[in-house]
Amino acid sequence: MSSTVLMQLCILIPLVGAVLIGLSSRAPNIREGVTLMSAALLLAVVAGLYLDPAALETGTLILAEPVAGAAIKLELEPLGLLFAGVASLLWLITSLYTIGYMRANQEQHQTRLYICFAIALASTMGIAMAGNLFTLFIFYETLTLSTYPLVAHKEDEDAIFGGRFYLGILMSTSIGLLLPAIIWVWHAGASIDFVPGGVLPSDMSVTSVWVLLFLFAFGIGKAALMPIHRWLPEAMVAPTPVSALLHAVAVVKAGVFCMVKVLVYIFSADILLQSGANLLLITLASVTIVVASLIALQQDNLKRRLAYSTVSQLSYITLAGALLTPISTTAAMLHIAAHAFGKITLFFGAGAIYTAAHKTRVSELSGIGRRMPWTMGAFAIATLSMIGVPPAGGFISKWYLFQGIWTSGYWFLLLILLLSTLLNCAYFIPIVYAAFFRAETYTPEHTPGQAHGEAPWTMVLALCFTAILSLMLFFYPDTVLHLAQQLNGGG
C-alpha cells in the first residue's frame, strides 16, 4: 500500500472506530473490542509507515483547499512520525487499561468516553502529519474540543468547572494568539507550509521575530509554559486513563510537538539566533521547569503532583527545541518518547491505586508497595525515568540535552537542569520510599479491614508494559535516534 494511503488511514481508522463505537453502545464487549481493534490497526499502519524507508520521501498530500493558499495538507516527516508512533502505541496500551478502569469503577457514559478518545486520537494523528500551519491549527482545535467531554466526564460541579477552565484557556490562547501568529506568518513569509529551514524572510525585524515567537509560545497553550499552564492541573478532574493518555501524551505532547515543529520548520535557526529571540523561550522554559517543580513539591494530591511534574517536564522539550542545535533537537525528540512512557506509567499507577485502594493523596500511600508490588514497581521505574537515572529512558534524553547545552554554550542552563533534577528527586523519591519502606497508616476512611491487592489485571498488564517500554528506550534508543538523524540530515 502506498504511504499516502497509509497516512489517510491514520486519521480515518480512529474516526471510523468512533462511529462503530457509537453504533455498538449497547454491547459493551463489542464496543471495547472495536476500540482495541482500531487501536491495533492504527498501530499497525503507523508501524508500516515507520518501517517503510521511502515513506518520509513520499511528498505531500492535499486533501482540500478551502481558501487559496491554505490547504488541508498531510505530510510525513521524522518528528511527526515519532509523535504518531508514540501516541498510537500508547493508545493501544491505554485502551487495555481504560477497559479495566472504567469497568472496575463502574463509570457512567462509557460510550461517550470511548468515542471522544478515538476522535482525540484522530486529531492527534492529524497534528502529527500536518503539512502546514493551517492543518495543524484545525487538528489542534479539534483535539481541544474532543477532549473537553473527557475532562468534564464526571458532570459534577468540579468537573464542569475544570472543563470550562480547560476549554477557556486552550481556546482563548489558540484563537487569540496562535491564529494571529499563523496569519502573520502567512503575510510575512507568503507561505504557511512547513519547510526545513523556515519560511520567514531573513530580513524580518528583530522586534517582529520576538513578538511572533511570543505569540507562538503562548498561543500553543498545550505546551503549558507558565503562566498558562493552569489548565493542566485543572484537567486532572478527568478519569485517570484520560489524564494518562491525553494529559501525559496526546494533548501535551501535541503542544510541545507544535512548538518544536514551529521552531524547526517555520522559524529558522539563523533568524532566531541573530535576533536572540530564542532566549525568550529558553528563559520561559527554565522558569517553568523550576517553578513547576517547586509547586509539585507542595501537592498532596497524587494526580496534581504528576500534573505539575508534566508542566515541568514539557518545558525540557521546549528548552531543548529552543537551543536550536541538532543534538538538542535530538534530545527533544527523545524526551517526547521518554517522558510519554514514563509519565503514562505514573498516571497508570495513580489510577491503579485509586481503583484498588481508593486513595488519591500522596500522604496515604505508606506501605502500599507491599499490597501492590507490580504497580509500585513500575511506578519506581518510571520515577527513575523522570529523574533521568539509568537504566531508564529519561537518562538518554537528559544526556543529549546536556550535550546540547554544552555545544550551544548557555552554561547557566546546567544549573537549572541540576536544580530540577534535585527537585524531581525531592518530589518523587519520598513516594516510592514511603510505599515500600514505611508501615501502612490508617485513616478513618481507610481501615485495616479494607484489605486490597492489585488492581484488575488489564490495568496491571498495561502499566508493566509501559514501564518496560521506558526501560527499552534506554537499551535501544536507536529506534528514535535514527528518526532524529533524518530530521537533522533533512534540516
Partner: protein, 496 residues
C-alpha cells in the same frame, strides 16, 4: 423571450392569494411549498445563466428601461436571490409541523400567504433595477414581516411586532425621502440612469448638497433595516417572539437584503468615489460595526432566552458584514458578501434547532436545554455544528468568511480591528458554550416534557443546512467565486 426574472417574483406573489382562497389548511402549506421550491428552481437557472453569461436585463411589460420598470440581475442579485429562495424552500419544508404547533389553526392560511408575500418582496428588492420599485418591494416584505411576527404565540409578540413596525417604518420613510431627493435632483428612478446622472453632478453644484442629504437619509434608513448597532433595538424582540419558522426565515434573509440595498445604493447609484472618499462611509460604518461585534456578542453572553441570545449574536454577525463593507476594498467586500451567504446558512440552522426545541419543550430558556444532548441527540448535534460555524471553526463556512475578513483587515493594515474580529469569535465560544454545557453536562430535567427527538420533517431541513455549513467550509469555490465577482462588480460601479 425569457421571462424567468419576472416569474420568480410572480410565483410567490400569486400563490399567496391562492393559499387564502383554499379552505384546506394542508393545501395552503402544499401550495406554499410548491411555490418556494419552484422559485428555488428558477433561481438556480438564473444563477447559472448569470454565472455563465453575465448580467440579465428584463423589461417589465416590454417597456424599455428609463420609462418602464426594468429588472436587472447581476452576480450580486443572483447570489442574494439564491440565498432568499434557498432558505425559503428549506423553511417551508420545515414549516409544516412547527407551524401547526405554534400558530392558531384559523390563521394558518394567512400565515403561509404572508410568508409567500414576504418572500416575493425580498426577491423583488434583489432583482429590480428601479429605485422606487425597490421601495415598494421593501414595504411589501416589511408589512408582511410585521404581521408574521405578530402571529407569535406569546402576547409579547404583538409588542415586538409593533416596535418593529415603528422602527421599520421610520427606516422605510427615510429611504423613501432619500429616493425622493434623488428623483428631484435627476428626474429618473432607474438605477443605471440614476447612476449616470448622479455622476455628472459636479462637486461645486448646488445639487451636490441635495445628494449629501439623500445619502444621509438613505444610510440611516438602511442601517435601521439591517439592524446596525445602535439602530438594532427592534431586532432582539422581533426574533425572540416571532414564530420559530418566521425567525428562521427573517434571520437568514431579511437583514441580508437590507445589506444588499445599502451596497446597491452606495456603489451602484451614488458611486464609490462619492460615498467612500467624500463622505467616508467606511469610517461611518467602522465604529458601529466594531461596537456591534463586541457589544452584540457580549450582551448575548448574558441572555437566558436562547432565541434572544442568537438574536444578539445576529447583531454581532451583521457587524462583520458591515465591517467588510467599511474596509472598502475588494477583499473586504468579498468577505462581507460571503458572510451574508454563510450567516444565512448558520443562523438558519441554529434557529431551526430553536424551532425543534420549542416543538418538544415549549420554550427555549437555558434551563430547557438540560439533558437535551441525550434526549434530542440529532438536534443538539446540529446546534453544536451550527455553533462551530458561528464561532468560525475551521472546516465550517463561518471560518471561511472570517478568514477572508481577517485577511482584508490585515491588507488594510488595521491590526486592532483584526484583534476585535478574533475577540468576537472568542465571545461566541462563550455564549454558545453555555448552551452546549447545559445540554450535555447537566443532569436531566426533573419535569419530563417531550422526551423524544424532533420529527424528521424538522430534522431534515436543519441537517441540510448543517451539511451546507460544512460543505461550503471545505469546497468554497462557488460562494467565494460569486462573492468575489459581486465585489468586483460593486467596485466597478455595477457597470458589468
Amino acid at each position: 423571450m425569457n421571462h424567468l426574472p419576472a416569474i420568480q417574483v410572480i410565483i410567490p406573489l400569486l400563490s399567496a392569494p391562492l393559499c387564502l382562497l383554499l379552505r384546506w389548511r394542508t393545501g395552503a402549506w402544499l401550495i406554499a411549498l410548491l411555490a418556494t421550491w419552484a422559485t428555488f428552481g428558477v433561481s438556480l437557472v438564473l444563477f447559472r445563466t448569470v454565472m455563465l453569461h453575465g448580467a440579465i436585463s428584463y423589461d417589465m411589460g416590454g417597456w424599455p428601461a428609463p420609462w418602464g420598470i426594468n429588472y436587472h440581475i447581476d452576480s450580486l442579485s443572483a447570489f442574494l436571490v439564491l440565498i432568499v429562495t434557498g432558505i425559503g424552500a428549506l423553511t417551508l419544508a420545515y414549516a409544516y409541523k412547527s407551524v401547526k404547533r405554534e400558530i392558531r389553526p384559523e390563521s394558518l392560511r394567512a400565515f403561509y400567504a404572508l410568508l409567500l408575500i414576504c418572500q416575493a418582496g425580498l426577491l423583488g428588492i434583489a432583482v429590480t433595477g428601479d429605485a422606487f420599485n425597490m421601495y415598494v418591494f421593501l414595504e411589501i416584505s416589511s408589512l408582511s414581516a410585521y404581521a408574521l411576527i405578530g402571529l407569535g404565540q406569546r402576547r409579547r409578540a404583538l409588542r415586538a411586532a409593533f416596535q418593529y413596525l415603528v422602527m421599520g417604518t421610520i427606516g422605510a420613510t427615510f429611504i423613501l425621502i432619500g429616493i425622493g431627493l434623488l428623483y428631484s435632483l435627476t428626474g429618473t428612478l432607474n438605477i443605471q440612469d440614476l447612476a449616470a446622472r448622479v455622476a455628472l453632478i459636479p462637486e461645486s453644484a448646488y445639487g451636490h448638497r441635495t445628494l449629501i442629504t439623500a445619502f444621509a437619509f438613505l444610510t440611516v434608513g438602511f442601517s435601521l433595516k439591517l439592524a446596525l448597532f445602535p439602530l438594532h433595538l427592534w431586532l432582539p424582540n422581533a426574533y425572540t417572539y416571532a414564530p420559530s419558522v418566521v425567525t428562521v426565515f427573517l434571520a437568514a434573509t431579511a437583514t441580508k437584503v437590507a445589506v444588499y440595498m445599502l451596497l446597491r445604493f452606495s456603489f451602484c447609484i451614488l458611486g464609490k468615489r462619492f460615498v467612500f472618499e467624500q463622505l467616508t462611509l467606511g469610517n461611518i460604518l467602522l465604529l458601529p460595526s466594531l461596537a456591534a461585534i463586541l457589544i452584540g456578542s457580549m450582551v448575548a453572553i448574558f441572555q437566558y432566552d436562547i432565541k434572544r441570545m442568537l438574536a444578539y449574536s445576529s447583531i454581532g454577525q451583521i457587524g462583520y458584514m458591515t465591517l467588510g463593507i467599511s474596509l472598502n476594498s475588494h477583499a473586504g467586500l468579498s468577505a462581507g458578501i460571503l458572510h451574508m451567504f454563510n450567516h444565512a446558512l448558520m443562523k438558519g440552522a441554529l434557529f431551526m434547532v430553536m424551532g425543534a426545541v420549542v416543538y418538544r419543550t415549549g420554550s427555549v430558556y437555558l434551563s430547557d436545554f438540560r439533558g437535551l444532548g441525550r434526549r434530542m441527540p440529532w438536534t443538539m448535534a446540529a446546534f453544536v455544528l451550527g455553533g462551530m460555524s458561528l464561532i468560525g471553526f475551521p472546516l465550517t463556512a463561518g471560518f471561511i468568511s472570517k478568514w477572508i475578513l481577517v485577511e482584508a483587515t490585515l491588507e488594510a493594515g488595521w491590526w486592532p480591528v483584526t484583534g476585535i474580529v478574533l475577540l468576537g469569535s472568542l465571545l461566541a465560544v462563550i455564549y454558545l458554550w453555555r448552551v452546549i454545557e447545559t445540554a450535555y453536562f447537566n443532569p436531566r430535567h426533573e419535569i419530563e416534557h417531550g422526551t423524544e427527538e424532533a420529527p424528521l420533517s424538522l430534522l431534515l431541513p436543519m441537517w441540510i443546512l448543517v451539511g451546507a455549513n460544512i460543505y461550503f467550509g471545505i469546497d468554497t469555490s462557488i460562494p467565494l467565486d460569486m462573492a468575489e465577482r459581486a465585489a468586483t462588480l460593486l467596485i466597478s460601479g455595477g457597470a458589468l
